[in-house]
């Protein structure tokens, strides 16, 4: 009886890297939240110069998060394709 290959990525370090991605995204979200509240408070305090740089920084953070998600998803898809090909 042949042993079936698992349908998920079993390479060493995959779980750790996935957990690390989640943590990094979480930390980036906290930074973005701080940016939003700080920019909002500065705006209401009369400082109009902070809004645009804060938005750009927040956009960079979003790109980082999106990048991490895409990297994770593509890695997993690639692994699944390889497993399918091997089968």
């Amino acid at each position: 009886m042949a042993i079936r290959k698992p349908r998920f990525d079993t390479r060493p370090g995959v779980t750790a890297s996935a957990t690390a991605r989640v943590w990094i995204c979480g930390i980036i979200c906290v930074v973005q939240y701080w940016l939003l509240t700080a920019a909002n408070e500065a705006f209401h305090g009369g400082n109009l110069k902070v809004g645009l740089p804060a938005f750009l920084a927040s956009l960079v953070c979003f790109v980082l998060v999106a990048g991490l998600i895409v990297v994770g998803e593509s890695g997993s898809h690639k692994m699944q394709e390889e497993l399918r090909d091997n089968e």
Partner: protein, 178 residues
Amino acid sequence: MKYKSSTSPKWREDFPIEQEFDDFVTRRDFIRFLGLVSAGLAVGSGSVAVNSLTHTEVEALPELAVAGADTLKPGSWLVFNYPDEHSPAMLIRREDGEYAAYLQKCPHLACPVSYHAAGSDGEPEGLRCHCHNGRFDLDTGKGTAGPPRELRPLRRVELRVADDGSVSAVGLAKRHKA
């Protein structure tokens, strides 16, 4: 996590989810949710940026000619209602002849603020609230003494002075720049 066994039915292989694991959030789902949160926060920051870029210093309101302004002597003031009949405002003719106008309500406890010319008690001209001895800077409307020092400044009324000496209120300064 035994999804499959030799006795499992075919549908179990196609749908290998145990009911007890159904409420679990996977890392993949959670990171997708974080992506959504990140996008929302970026949009929020964008709205702050848009508000900052489109901010105007003056809130334009219907023009109102201030009755009696043309006969106002330097170092005197009068009260008129602006922007509605329930909002008292002060039109001040400063000692140098320039006009200034502020809403009269003190930001502390809404007592009426009044203008005091220089010389009467050795102090320079300025705005005072007699309820709690608050003082305001005549140039900016910011509190300089008493409880108003910690509060928002008085809102400045934007004026238009015509060649014939008539004065009209045309809007209110936004709170930021008051």
